[in-house]
């Protein structure tokens, strides 16, 4: 990665922190409501043989809702409303540059297994984001994955996910 260029005089634009804060708080309230609803149907009261399955989660759900509402209130109407930019465009780009390939990588693991997907992922990450030469990248990723392979499959005998298509089945592990 190149060093972070100081944007200095440029105005950072993006969503204000309190908006993100409010969204997260709302999600917490919704989560709390889901927990309350779920434990209600399970029986949150007193059954013939003691407290029901939903007894404890029910109260957890209530506290979750209270804390969510509290945070929401603080974010929107609190004295120190945080109007700073949550992430600016440049930062968001950097974060997504890691997050999206990582999600694609997990999807790839599902099909071609941990080893193959990881090797491709590391190599591509180095080539595209790190601007390394393809040969260097492929060698590095191969070495790293070979190390993992020996560590997990051979030394510690912990089998890893080979994927639905098992491209490495010829190795016999």
């Amino acid at each position: 990665m190149e060093p972070n260029q100081e944007s200095g005089a440029e105005v950072r634009s993006g969503v204000a922190t309190y908006v993100v804060e409010a969204i997260v708080a709302t999600c917490i309230v919704i989560l709390g409501a889901v927990v309350i609803q779920g434990s209600w149907t399970l029986g949150s009261g007193w059954t013939s043989d003691g407290p029901g399955s939903g007894y404890f989660p029910f109260y957890i759900g209530i506290i979750l809702c209270i804390s969510g509402v509290g945070t929401l209130y603080q974010a929107l109407f609190g004295k120190e409303k945080n109007t700073e930019v949550f992430v600016d465009g440049e930062q968001l780009k950097r974060v997504l540059a890691v997050l999206i390939p990582a999600i694609v990588y997990v999807l790839a693991v599902q099909f071609i297994g941990l080893y193959v997907a990881s090797a491709i992922y590391i190599a591509l990450f180095m080539i595209i984001l790190g601007k390394f030469s393809p040969i260097k990248s492929v060698i590095t990723s191969f070495l790293v994955i070979a190390l993992f392979f020996f560590m997990f499959e051979v030394w510690f005998k912990v089998p890893l996910f080979k994927g639905q298509f098992e491209p490495l089945s010829f190795l016999g592990y």
Binding site: P57, L64, S67, Q91, V106, V109, I122, F125
Partner: protein, 509 residues
């Protein structure tokens, strides 16, 4: 001295060549984890936990706890040489450590940091040796209400002593509890909150949460900052080490005070980060050279490092004696104990003597080995940080994915890990503390069990929480801590408090 006998028995248990090798491996892996961004004590141990499933519990815990010591040591390297705290608890070390490195005294700063880490840990281990059996003996008398009261105290003290919005601490904690209740109900066997998805029957494993929240979340944060490491180089030669050691006894008061702060903050779930800040602040106030703090004062390195290490070590006391971990990493170690079929808590000291005293003995040896390893290998670890982030980042993502998969051999867990990663990133940015979430996720089932058992005994009457002085006292203390944010506001009206000058720099842990 029954404890000393047990301790020597412990040494005899662990002193096998294999265990010594594991100790070195653990320390080196731990320092590596402490140095790398995105891998810390908690998720490092979580990822490496599956590797130890084939070992005997004693060997496994020796290796895992050594990883933990290593991570505690490693945090100091990046703070001093690169001004980047590798771990939240080493933020305070950067204040004086980095200026020292800039003045060309990196070797002295590192030696001071490592040595005081060792001293802090040593004092804490001595405390554990003598206090843990007593606490365990005392806790043998506990019934469900007492245990629930202790759980309550643990979680309420997060609210009372935590930094930041109490609502956020509560939210983070209850999310942990809610996730913990997903899956099979441990009492009735009913499926809970699975919404008909069979894979959710297993529930959310806290290891997945730890790996995602701390690992992926940290990588996303580091990316956002566009990390560029430009560090000072360091070489530690024996002469510098000896010279620094000669200077250290002068600061025995600082070391002692910091150790005590660390021990106190570690036993109560305050954690290493607040301990290091508190100790730095106090040292600045009490020292003759207080005004020079921040410009490369060796005392400013000693204070936070001693406290952080003492806190990190003492966090294991409640984990061993009560089954209640004082920090996320201790929680992961507790998870490991459960996986090996050991029930942490007071009975551990009666039923698994070999294991407990082996672990305590390994704390003594592990820290000594750690000190030797870090003093000799600093240049090596410093050079790791010069590896471009675009190689380190994908490798860490891969390691996290492998770690998440090996917990249950379940592909779905890798997806959960990514989800937790995004949540971790958002929560970190919004100052939600992550430690309560992890601890609630680990202790959720047990806290719920003791709560329901207590309620069964009393037929739903809350008054059982005040049925005898012990349980009543703990519960009352817990409630005071829970409402401390309100109480302190009232107190502030009556008497305005002193401003904490480091409040802004201290991360929400």
């Amino acid at each position: 001295m029954e404890e000393l006998n047990s301790l020597f028995h412990g040494f005899s248990v662990i002193l096998t060549p294999m265990n010594i090798v594991l100790m070195f491996v653990g320390i080196i892996l731990g320092v590596l984890i402490g140095v790398l961004p995105g891998l810390g004590g908690a998720n490092g141990v979580a990822i490496l936990l599956p590797l130890t499933f084939t070992m005997s519990p004693t060997s496994a815990i020796i290796m895992l706890s050594c990883i933990y010591w290593g991570a505690l040591f490693g945090g100091a390297i990046t703070s001093i040489l690169f001004n980047i705290p590798g771990e939240p608890w080493s933020v305070a070390t950067t204040f004086d450590g980095y200026p020292m490195a800039q003045q060309g005294k990196a070797g002295a700063a590192l030696t001071a940091a490592f040595t005081s880490s060792f001293i802090g840990a040593f004092v804490a281990v001595v405390m554990i040796t003598f206090l843990a059996p007593l606490v365990a003996k005392f806790a043998l008398k506990f019934g469900p209400p007492e245990f629930f009261a202790v759980y309550l105290l643990t979680f309420c003290s997060f609210v009372g002593m935590g930094k930041g919005s109490p609502f956020k601490i509560l939210a983070s904690m209850t999310i942990g509890f809610a996730l913990a209740s997903v899956g099979m109900d441990t009492v009735t066997g009913q499926l809970r909150l699975t919404f008909g998805i069979p894979d959710l029957m297993r529930g959310f494993d806290f290891l997945i949460a730890v790996i995602g929240l701390f690992g992926i979340g940290e990588i996303l944060l580091s990316m956002e900052e566009g990390l560029a490491f430009s560090g000072k180089s360091a070489k530690i030669d024996p002469k510098v080490v000896l010279e620094t050691w000669k200077k250290l006894p002068k600061y025995w008061m600082t070391s002692l005070r910091s150790s005590l702060i660390g021990i106190w903050m570690g036993i109560t779930p305050g954690g290493a980060t607040p301990a290091s800040f508190m100790s730095y602040g106090l040292a600045k106030k009490m020292s003759k050279n207080g005004s020079k703090f921040g410009s490369g004062e060796i005392e400013g390195v000693i204070a936070p490092e001693t406290a952080a290490h003492a806190a990190g070590t003492s966090a294991l006391l409640p984990m061993l004696a009560l089954g209640i971990p004082g920090s996320p990493t201790a929680a992961v170690l507790l998870g490991g104990l459960l996986i090996w079929g050991l029930q942490p808590g007071p009975l551990l000291f009666v039923e698994q003597k070999d294991f407990v005293w082996g672990l305590i003995a390994s704390m003594y040896l592990g820290n000594l080995v750690g000190l030797i390893v870090v003093l000799t290998t600093v240049p090596l670890f410093a050079s790791i940080l010069r590896i471009p982030f675009s190689i380190i980042a994908p490798v860490i993502v891969v390691i996290c994915a492998i770690g998440a998969y090996t917990v249950h051999n379940a592909m779905l867990d890798i997806w959960f890990m990514m989800l937790f990663g995004v949540v971790g990133y958002l929560f970190k940015k919004l100052d939600y503390p992550l430690a309560p979430l992890v601890l609630a996720l680990v202790l959720g089932d047990k806290a719920e069990d003791s709560f329901r058992q207590a309620m069964l005994v009393s037929q739903g009457e809350m008054s059982i929480m005040w049925s005898n002085p012990l349980v009543g006292g703990i519960t009352t203390l817990a409630l005071i801590l829970l409402f401390w944010p309100l109480i302190s506001r009232v107190l502030a009206k009556i008497r305005p408090p002193k401003q904490n000058e480091f409040a802004a720099e201290q991360p929400v842990d």
